[in-house]
Symmetry: C2
Subunit: 338 residues, 2 copies
C-alpha cells in the first residue's frame, strides 16, 4: 500500500468520516468547513487529485465532490483508525445487561446480536459456540408413547441435545431408565474407542440407542448450527438500499451460512474487516463485514459480527465487535471451562 503524506492522510480521514455520516460526495470547500485543516480549497483539490490517482477516492462525475473507494476505506481502517475501544461507560452498560440476563448461551447470543445491531446500526449475526470435541455427560431416555422415546444427551459444558427415537418394540419407562443407566456407566470416563469394544454387552435396545448417540455426536446439532440475526430493519433504512438489488444481496448473505463459515480460519480475538466484498464475497459489493471469532480456541468457538453498507462506522463497529467477542469469550470460558 502506497504511502501518504500526513496532510493527505488527514484529508482522506475527513472525507471518509464526512461521507460516512452523510453519503454525499464531499467537495473541497465542504471539507474545509468540517475540519480544522487550514489551507485553501485549491490545495485541497490538488491533494484530492493525488489521492484519486492513488486509488483512494473517486469521482462520480466531473463536477462532483469526492467519495471513498474500497481501497480508501481499507487504508482508513488499517492506518488511520488506530486502536478503537468502546467508551468505558458503554462497555459497562453492555456488561451490566449481560450479567442481568439468564445464564444461557441462547440468551447471550440474542443479547449480543441486539447490542451489535443497536450500537452499529446495522445487521448483526452470531453463531453458537461450536464445541470441537464434544464429550458426553449424561444420557437419558424418556418414554413418550409405546414405541416413541425421547433421547436427551447432556454434553460437557451444559449443551443439551435431544432426538426422538422410534423403537421396534414397545418399552416402558422402567426398562428405559435401566438402559440409560447402563449406557451412562459404559460411557463414564471412557473414550469412544473403548466404548465400542464393550458394545456386545448391550441389549438390542441399548445398541440402537448407542448408534444414534454416536451419530449425534458426530454431526452438528441444531444448537450448533443455530444462527441469531438481528437489526435487518436498521440496514434497510439506509439510503443506499433503496435500490432493492443490494438489499436482497444482503439478506441473502445473511440467510445463507456461507459467510460465517468462511472466516473459521482466523484466530479468536482478532477482528476481521471485509470491505466491499473483497476476496470471495462478490455478492456483497456494496457491503462491509466486521467479524470476530469468540470462545476458547480449539475447544468451543463461534463467530459474531455485523454487516452493513461500505460506509459503515468502522470505529464503532470494530470496537463493538471486539468488546462483544471478549465478553462472549469470557462467558464461554466461565460455563464451558473445567
Amino acid at each position: 500500500m502506497e504511502e501518504l503524506t500526513p496532510r493527505q492522510q488527514s484529508i482522506l480521514g475527513v472525507v471518509i468520516r464526512s461521507y460516512i455520516s452523510n453519503p454525499q460526495p464531499v467537495s473541497s470547500k465542504a471539507l474545509l468547513e468540517h475540519s480544522s485543516i487550514d489551507v485553501s480549497s485549491a490545495t485541497v483539490r490538488n491533494e484530492m487529485a493525488a489521492l484519486e490517482a492513488k486509488g483512494f477516492l473517486t469521482h462520480p462525475h466531473t463536477s462532483a465532490g469526492r467519495q471513498p473507494t474500497d481501497a480508501g476505506y481499507r487504508y482508513f481502517v488499517e492506518r488511520l483508525l488506530g486502536e478503537v475501544e468502546l467508551p468505558l461507560e458503554e462497555r459497562n452498560t453492555i456488561r451490566h445487561q449481560f450479567h442481568q440476563s439468564k445464564l444461557e448461551v441462547g440468551a447471550w447470543m440474542n443479547l449480543a446480536a441486539a447490542v451489535m445491531a443497536r450500537s452499529v446500526r446495522s445487521a448483526a449475526v452470531i453463531t453458537a459456540p461450536k464445541i470441537e470435541n464434544p464429550r458426553l455427560r449424561t444420557i437419558q431416555l424418556i418414554s413418550i408413547q409405546s414405541t416413541t422415546v425421547l433421547l436427551v444427551l447432556v454434553m460437557q459444558g451444559g449443551t443439551v441435545r435431544q432426538q426422538m427415537v422410534q423403537l421396534r418394540e414397545p418399552a416402558d419407562q422402567n426398562l428405559l431408565t435401566q438402559s440409560s443407566n447402563r449406557l451412562n456407566n459404559l460411557f463414564a470416563g471412557r473414550d469412544e474407542q473403548s466404548v465400542k469394544t464393550h458394545r456386545h454387552e448391550l441389549s438390542e435396545l441399548e445398541q440402537t440407542v448407542l448408534a444414534i448417540v454416536m451419530a449425534l455426536m458426530q454431526t452438528d446439532g441444531p444448537s450448533n448450527s443455530e444462527v441469531v440475526r438481528d437489526g435487518l430493519t436498521e440496514v434497510l433504512q439506509e439510503p443506499e438500499f433503496r435500490a432493492q438489488a443490494d438489499a436482497r444481496a444482503l439478506v441473502n448473505a445473511l440467510e445463507s451460512r456461507g459467510l460465517l463459515d468462511e472466516i473459521h480460519d482466523s484466530r479468536v480475538g482478532t477482528v476481521r474487516v471485509v470491505i466491499g466484498g473483497e476476496g470471495r464475497w462478490r455478492e456483497l459489493s456494496s457491503c462491509s463485514v466486521v467479524l470476530a471469532r469468540y470462545g476458547m480456541e480449539g475447544f468451543a468457538t463461534g463467530t459474531l459480527g455485523v454487516v452493513g453498507p461500505t460506509r459503515m462506522p468502522y470505529g464503532r463497529a470494530i470496537g463493538t465487535v471486539r468488546y462483544l467477542s471478549e465478553l462472549m469469550s469470557d462467558l464461554v470460558t466461565d460455563t464451558f471451562g473445567e
Copy 2:
C-alpha cells in the same frame, strides 16, 4: 357487502388475477385479451365504472386502467375463490418431505416455513406449539462447575427446557442425582398444589431448585417463544418493495411477535386472511397476511402463515397454509397425544 352481477364478478376476478400476476393497472382492452369475456371494451368500461362506484376497484389517475382495492381483494377471497386445495401431487411432495425429516418439532417448523415461503413466494412465519398446561415428566440436575448446575426439565410430549442455576454452596454430582430423584418422586403423579404441601420435606438445595422449576413452568420457554421465519428474500424482490418504507414495515412486523399473538382467538383449522392491514395492523398497509392455527385445541397450539404484498396469490396461499396447518396438527397430535 353489495351484490354483484355474474359479469361484474367475472370482470373483478379477471382484473385481480391479472393484477396479481403483473402489478399494472389493467385496461378495458387488456382485460378482453386475457379473458373469455365476449363483449366490447365499452361495456367493460361501464362495468368497471360500476365496480369502482361500489368500491372494489380504483383508478390511480384518469387515463389509467383499474386496479383492485382492499375491498376488491376481500370480495375476491370470500366470494370468488371458492374452496382452494393444493394439487394432490404437491400435497404428496410436501408430506413426503415431512416424513423424511427428523422427528423433531424444530425441524418441522423450519420445513413448514421453507415450504410456505417457496410455495407462496413470500415471507413465512411459524411459532412453536405452545403447550397450554405443561406437565413435568422428569427433572435432572447436572453438575457443571462447583456451584454451577444445569437443570434439565423434560415436559410431557418431549419438550426439553434447560436452565443454568447458580447454587450458594458447592454440590457434587452424587448429591445432585439424589436430589433430582427426590424431586422426581415428589412430582410423580401429583399436581402442583399437592407438590407445594410437601415442600417442607425438602433440603435447601431442593427447595431452591423447586422454586426455579415452578417459575420455569409458568413462563414460556425459549422453545415456546421461538419463531421461525423464512423467505424474506422472496418478498424483497417484489416490485412494490422498491419503496423501502413498506419493506421496513414488513420486516418490522415479522421481527416483532405482535402479529402472531393477535390471532390466538381464532380456532384451529380456520384460515384467516387479513388484507392491507385491516383492523389493527395499520403498519402493514400494503401487505396481506394469511394465517392459521395448528395443533390440538386447548392443549398445544401454534400459529403459521405467510405475509406478502396485498396482491399475493391468495389461492395458493390459503391452500398452502391450510394444508400445512393440517399436517402440523397431525404431527403434533402424533407426538404430544397421550
